[in-house]
Symmetry: C2
Subunit: 247 residues, 2 copies
């Protein structure tokens, strides 16, 4: 891609913007490191001189931000694909899809979430993405599985899933379990049921023995409810995701 790009026709200068963005994305994905995302490297790959990038991006930060908007867009699309059906199950599907996407695109996720963010205000693509999360939570509040302010609950659940994938990406040396898929199921379930239980908790807790007993009973009741056939209308666990955890 070192070949000199042919100059765009009049009025089509904006084409370069797309090519630069594509070059930046490719560079990020292929190198696997954000340090490789250099104005010089991007320009070279786009077949253009370095300062030409400034024709379409105010500075490097603006270019990176533009790349991030693409990623937010992908997250938004992913949420949209996973909505529908029982709200609590859909929430679990979204969480798992989020984690999977993040782990499949670790560099992009790094740049998106672990960079020092500049300006105030949430960019539209990010806001839309967050709105999907809130909507998914709201649906669960309507079925009374969750209780509370959907926005706050969504932030909490997002925190949990983000924490898991960001630690996996940034601190891979820790003794993570072999099975990443199971880990994600774990964290999604913890986030989902933790949020569900949270609003029902009293201010002060009973001693551990009583707490453990209450937890055991809760689990037994769920199991018997499912076994006795009350579970009509429940989605079947998908074949590729045994247990359908978190759903």
């Amino acid at each position: 891609m070192t070949t000199r790009r042919v100059r765009a026709r009049r009025g089509e200068g904006a084409l370069l913007r797309e090519e630069i963005l594509r070059a930046a994305e490719d560079l990020l994905a292929e190198s696997g490191s954000e340090d490789a995302l250099t104005l010089r490297a991007v320009a070279l790959r786009a077949g253009v001189s370095t300062p030409s990038v400034y024709l379409h991006f105010a500075d490097k930060e603006a270019l990176v931000e533009a790349v991030c908007m693409r990623v937010w867009g992908e997250f938004g699309r992913m949420f949209r694909e996973n909505l529908g059906g029982d709200p609590f199950l859909a929430l679990g599907r979204c969480g798992r899809a989020y984690a999977r996407f993040a782990l499949e695109h670790p560099v992009q996720y790094r740049v998106l979430m672990m960079r020092a963010t500049a300006g105030p205000g949430v960019p539209p693509a990010a806001a839309e993405c967050f709105r999907h999360m809130v909507d998914a939570v709201s649906a669960c509040v309507e079925t009374r599985v969750l209780e509370g302010d959907p926005e706050e609950l969504a932030l909490g659940m997002w925190s949990a899933v983000h924490g898991c994938v960001s630690l996996l990406i940034a601190q891979p040396s820790f003794p993570w379990p072999r099975d990443r898929e199971a880990l994600i199921d774990h964290i999604v379930r913890v986030a989902g049921f933790g949020t569900a239980v949270y609003s029902r908790l009293p201010q002060t807790l009973p001693p551990s023995a009583d707490l453990a007993a209450a937890l055991d009973d809760f689990g037994a009741r769920l199991a018997s409810g499912v076994a006795s056939g009350v579970a009509s209308g429940v989605e079947k666990p998908r074949g590729d995701e045994p247990g359908g955890a978190g759903e």
Copy 2:
């Protein structure tokens, strides 16, 4: 601190290492930005020429790593201060202390957790810190509040708390609730009870209505258990933390 440092006596060259580390820490804390952590700035602040840093650190990464080790040490000390008493309450205290420390030292936390980590293997200070987490979880497994592999459970709970503080630090523009303390309580409780509930869940869930009812009953049972005075031995919520959530 621009004054030229007096040369160390023979055999005391290692003094410079401490001064450089201190300069780096101060620079990070005062500037509030990791970009300000420059070899040139550090050297200037230590009253020494730039390449002198290489007398004690292989490269910039090694210097940053050394700063991180200090932070891990602080985290470890913080855990040690919050252990003891009922294990599940201690776990909540640790989680809250972790989050508070992170939010009070956002730049250090950034560098520690959101940097592209280089070498393989967990450094000793980090391993010790993680061991504290695992120990705190193990104690909860012994009282039967939690079930499962302590290491995996600890990773999950760490993920949740880390996710919350790292999002707060890296994405401050999102509609976070006014009360950060309450948010931390929220996430710590979600992580704690989510983890407790997780191991009791059946593979398939009952429909939302039954699930909501079971959750309500669980909460009612906890509340009545506390109200009926069974709660002997439970720590009182601390005055500065109404609700003692998560504990």
